[in-house]
């Protein structure tokens, strides 16, 4: 008994070949991996998480706890996929997981070797043992023993992407209720998205032999699909799971675009991560069959009653014969009748109820199915199920069976309703939890709300769909509703066969047993949240969809409380696992984040530059030449050439902010510690701005281009932060100021030339009448004119390197031509392009602070800039920068350092200690912030923050660097190793 000769929603004209654990099998289009294995008589599919017990299929849907498999091989290997949701394709290569050496014979299962170790609370108890043993013994053993599948070891070759969708009404689930909700809302003209995790719409209709409007219910599905497809504002997304509900009507969904193909179609991703914004949503996720806890309830062949029906009806398959049904409700009986009609011999229906409803008894009789009323399964046998032992009315009987179809009732699939904290509510009449307080904008219809009959699903779907649309101003009608059976649910609460033989599993995926629940109770972990964490009940990838209710019902029984009082735990996103690749989407590898090239990037690349990341920017780090041994040698050459003649660097990455308006001067006076309202037109000033807490936020130069027009530069790192800060000041603090700001960071390319010949180079590209002479453009002046024969330019005479310097700004498209023009003009002077490394060396030689010093923990006084602050005005950060702690003379303050032995190398991060003091935190006097080898001086130099530094010039201290094993004496000196008086700047 495997595949039936006819029936099922499979395409028998399209056979598909696949392998499982290397063995070749065949299935059909329309199969899942699970149904195809069933049709091939494969009953052993995996080994359990902790105890390595043999396991088969429990369900036929996404709630499957057992049948986790690895799909594909090599770089595309994907662990932990549920065989029940894997759509079969030709060439599918699947493997069982968590077994060694083979699925059939698993060494670790032998004798339940580790079982005593792994009971409830094992993590906590194991940790109590000597910690020394953990790393060497317990962890490796547990890791080998307990686990899921193996991730691929090569980079994933497939693409993933993200997408946004917007709609009026999102319908989650395409079964009877969902189809009606989508149709009803869609007919009103609302924009509707219908999402279903299956590759085929219909939900349980696909697996039940029911009628709608007196015709096979599949015809209803086909009509609904056709009507939805014809509605322009309705979008149907198959193979898509809504995995999370988020604030503001945002839903996360995962579309498996190419998972049902050997490789995704060209130019399409494997999976697409959707952010769906819906004004209303209707959850129609159905319900799942709940197991009953009894000894041996995990044996391959024990499955849910609805799974038996689904395999038989939808897939025309059963993995064995005959079947015994063990249940407490009428829905399981109808599953048995459908399965029987599809061709599965039913040996008996065992019902815990002493007197099942007469209607059902009669229907069973008519089909010749034996009923054992008031019965319980107390044991099972066979490695693969071969018989079940039933006790009824004091008699015990063993019945041969390869399938035991179990149902303890239905559990509404309500996980999404609790993503906002809504606690599910127990309903005794259906012995199950239904959604409690719902997320805003979301309603629930059909089995997910505990409305089980087909007629009620159809009606509720229509009603909720109409309400959602009408809420939004559409006119939707919830009638007429197609006619269908409206059989009442009959269920008698039953969770656990207490007197049964063998391990009785509550949580199949996490191997939590009835005994574990009892231990948790005994040891006082009785609240549901404690029960969950102590036993790991419901903490597996399925979040306990088939196990939570039984677990807490059993705890309720142990504590003598009712289920309502015991309560339940909450579900959290994601509803089903989401691959990290889907979350990253396009943002991986080189596209992990945007890369921003400077305007001269291509030119610098052609010069052989090595680049370095500066935030999102790529900047030229240095320009190596053939024969140079390492970057240090290159940087030495760049610094020496610049200081001797002239060098060139792109500084376009600095933030540039255009400020206009009558109040700009006043505004800048409040933002900077120093005064800008008095700055003359045509002049540039260095400014420092603080945070309100008194720490330095950023520094840079600001030029006054015209009376009411300034241009601010910021550091590369803080460009966006400073802009946001200025907007804060203008909009929140001082909205009365008439100042308009605009970022022009991208508008202007800016190239700096520095060195004694810089003016000679500039003069060669400046157009008349631009006067770049020392008198025409003095130090800290700005000139506007044109260069290169008509290109508008701003020329700032500023310097970071300490040399005569100019920054030349041109519209960005002219950035690379400017660099080329400067190189050409500078050729007679051997102009040398340099990168950020040489720039860093020169600024350390000059004693300028940079990012390492502007680290958010330094004040202007710490940086030796205290005298810049104007005392005549208020500015942001002034009040708190005058706090006593900021004036403490023991605060580490900026000074320079050089090694006592000129051969010693300095290290940034080294801490300063007085000679003779031990290397403990109490003796710490500060640390080295920046170091460089100075080609100009011929030895290493550094900047650092040292307690009372400026008073200690000439003293020596230890620079202690335990990380790199260095402890050397260094001499404290003034910061400013080259041209400390700044004479070179003014020539």
């Amino acid at each position: 008994m495997t595949r039936f000769v006819d029936g099922g929603l499979i395409d028998r004209t399209r056979p598909l070949a696949f392998t499982f654990d290397g063995q070749a099998y065949r299935g059909f289009a329309g199969d899942t991996l699970a149904s195809a294995l069933t049709a091939n008589g494969v009953r052993l599919i995996g080994r359990s998480f902790k105890y390595h017990r043999p396991r088969g299929l429990f369900s036929a849907g996404s709630d499957e706890p057992n049948a986790l498999v690895e799909l594909r091989t090599g770089a595309r290997r994907e662990p932990n996929t549920r065989a029940t949701t894997v759509e079969l394709y030709d060439g599918l290569d699947a493997a069982s997981q968590n077994r060694w050496p083979s699925l059939d014979f698993d060494l670790q299962a032998a004798g339940g070797l580790f079982a005593p170790l792994l009971g409830a609370g094992f993590y906590y108890k194991t940790f109590m043992w000597p910690a020394a043993l953990w790393e060497k013994l317990y962890e490796p053993v547990i890791r080998r023993a307990a686990g899921l599948g193996r991730a691929a070891e090569a980079p994933d070759p497939d693409a993933y992407e993200k997408a946004y969708a917007f709609c009026d009404v999102l319908v989650i689930g395409g079964g009877a209720a969902g189809l009606m909700a989508a149709l009803t809302a869609g007919r009103s003209g609302a924009r509707v998205i219908l999402v279903d995790e299956d590759f085929r719409l219909g939900g349980r209709i696909l697996s039940e032999r029911e009628e709608i409007d007196d015709a096979p219910s599949l015809q209803f599905v086909a009509r609904a699909e056709a009507e939805l497809a014809a509605m322009p504002e309705v979008r149907v997304m198959r193979r898509t799971t809504v995995f999370g509900v988020y604030d503001g009507g945002t839903y996360g969904a995962l579309e498996r675009v190419g998972d049902h193909l050997p490789v995704p179609a060209p130019f399409t991703p494997r999976q697409r991560y959707w952010k769906i914004v819906a004004r209303r949503a209707v959850l129609c996720a159905g319900a799942g069959d709940r197991p009953i806890v009894f000894g041996g309830n995990d044996r391959p062949g024990v499955m849910s009653a609805q799974a038996l029906r689904s395999y038989a009806v939808r897939y025309a398959a059963a993995a064995g014969s005959p079947a015994v049904v063990f249940a407490n409700n009428g829905y399981a009986w109808s599953a048995a009748f459908d399965a029987a009609a599809a061709g599965v011999p039913i040996a008996a229906i065992v019902d815990v109820r002493a007197e099942p409803p007469p209607v059902q008894m009669e229907r069973a009789n008519r089909r010749g199915i034996r009923v054992i009323a008031g019965g319980e399964v107390i044991a099972t046998s066979g490695k693969l199920l071969s018989s079940v032992t039933v006790r009824a009315r004091g008699r015990t009987e063993t019945i041969a069976a390869q399938i035991l179809a179990v149902s303890g009732g239905s559990s509404p699939t309500l996980a999404l309703t609790s993503h906002f904290g809504g606690k599910p509510v127990y309903r005794a009449d259906i012995a199950g939890f239904v959604p409690g307080v719902l997320p805003p904008g979301l309603s629930v219809a059909g089995a997910a709300a505990g409305e089980y009959s087909l007629a009620r699903c159809l009606a509720a779907g229509a009603a909720r769909g109409a309400e959602a649309a009408n809420d939004l101003g559409f006119t939707a009608r919830a009638t007429p509703v197609p006619q269908a059976q409206d059989k009442p649910i009959t269920v008698s609460p039953f969770w656990h066969v207490a007197q049964s033989r063998g391990l009785a599993f509550v949580d199949l995926q996490n191997d939590v047993t009835a005994k574990d629940i009892a231990i948790a109770h005994q040891e006082g972990f009785r609240a549901v949240e404690l029960l969950k964490r102590y036993t790991t009940l419901g903490m597996a990838t399925d979040q306990g969809r088939t196990s939570n209710v039984n677990g807490l019902a059993m705890m309720a029984a142990l504590t003598g409380q009712d289920i309502e009082t015991t309560g339940t735990t909450l579900f959290r996103p994601p509803f089903t696992p989401v691959a990290i690749g889907a979350i990253a989407g396009h943002h991986r590898e080189k596209d992990f984040r945007a890369t921003r090239p400077t305007p001269t990037h291509a030119w610098a690349r052609a010069q052989g530059a090595t680049f370095v990341e500066a935030g999102l920017w790529l900047r030229a780090q240095y320009f190596p030449r053939a024969g140079e041994a390492d970057w240090l040698e290159t940087v030495k050459r760049e610094v020496t050439a610049t200081r001797a003649s002239v060098g060139l660097i792109d500084v376009s990455t600095f933030g540039k902010i255009d400020l206009q308006g009558p109040d700009v001067g006043r505004f800048l006076d409040r933002v900077y510690i120093n005064t800008f309202s008095t700055l003359a037109v045509g002049k540039v000033r260095y400014g420092v701005m603080l945070r309100e807490d008194g720490m330095v936020m950023d520094d840079g130069t600001t030029a006054r281009l015209a009376d009411t027009h300034y241009l601010m530069t910021t550091t590369t790192a803080n460009a966006a932060k400073v802009y946001q800060h200025l907007e804060f000041c203008l909009q929140v603090l001082w909205p009365d100021l008439d100042v308009q700001i605009a970022s022009v960071s991208e508008q202007w390319a800016q190239v700096s030339i520095a060195g004694p010949r810089a003016r000679d180079v500039l003069a060669r590209i400046a157009d008349a009448p631009l006067d770049v002479s020392n008198a025409g453009l003095p130090y800290m002046g700005v000139a506007q004119g044109s260069v290169m024969g008509g290109i508008a330019a701003r020329i700032f005479r500023v310097s970071f390197s300490g040399e005569l310097g100019y920054e030349i700004a041109v519209p960005a498209r002219h950035g690379a031509p400017l660099a080329r023009a400067l190189m050409e003009a500078g050729a007679p002077f051997d102009i040398t392009p340099y990168g950020t490394e040489a720039l860093g060396v020169m600024r350390i030689e000059k004693g300028h602070v940079s990012g390492n010093e502007l680290n958010g923990q330094t004040s202007v006084a710490d940086l030796g800039l205290g005298r810049m602050a104007s005392t005549k005005k208020d500015h942001i950060g002034r009040v708190l920068s005058e706090r006593p702690a900021f004036r403490d003379p023991d605060r580490p303050t900026l000074v320079g350092f050089k090694p006592v032995d000129p051969k010693d190398r300095l290290r940034a991060g080294a801490h300063f200690l007085r000679h003779g003091r031990s290397a403990v935190l109490a003796n710490d006097e500060g640390y080295m912030t920046s170091v460089a080898f100075s080609p100009t001086l011929g030895h290493w130099i550094g900047l650092g923050l040292l307690a009372r530094g400026p008073e200690r010039i000439g003293e020596t201290v230890r620079a202690y660097d335990p990380v790199r094993g260095a402890d050397i004496p260094v001499e404290i000196c003034r910061p400013g190793f080259v041209d400390p008086e700044g004479e070179r700047l003014r020539v």
């Binding site: 604030d247 503001g248 807490d693 966006a720 946001q724 907007e727 804060f728 909009q731 929140v732 009040v879």
Partner: protein, 88 residues
């Protein structure tokens, strides 16, 4: 979470950056108790469970600072306004 910007319309919260309570006003720096007042202004914050007026910056949109009324328990947005108007 989605925030209705008075200019741009309803946008995902990712477009905004959060500053915090909109209530503190920058104190008078010339006041005799300025040091204490600034300390409170910079460091002291209430942390209410419920509706709160907060400053958010629509950095990936219109770059306006907004005052957003948000219920910290539910993330429900009760209203938004430009900071220039809400505070003056």
């Amino acid at each position: 979470m989605r925030i209705p910007c008075p200019y741009c319309g309803l946008r995902d919260a990712h477009e905004f950056s959060y500053l915090g309570d909109a209530a503190p006003q920058r104190p008078d720096p010339a006041a005799p108790d300025a040091a204490d007042a600034f300390h409170d202004y910079v460091y002291l914050r209430d942390n209410p469970a419920g509706p709160m007026r907060e400053l958010w910056y629509h950095g990936a949109g219109c770059r306006r600072w907004l005052v957003v009324d948000r219920d910290t328990r539910t993330h429900a947005i009760l209203g938004t306004a430009f900071a220039t108007e809400a505070r003056s």
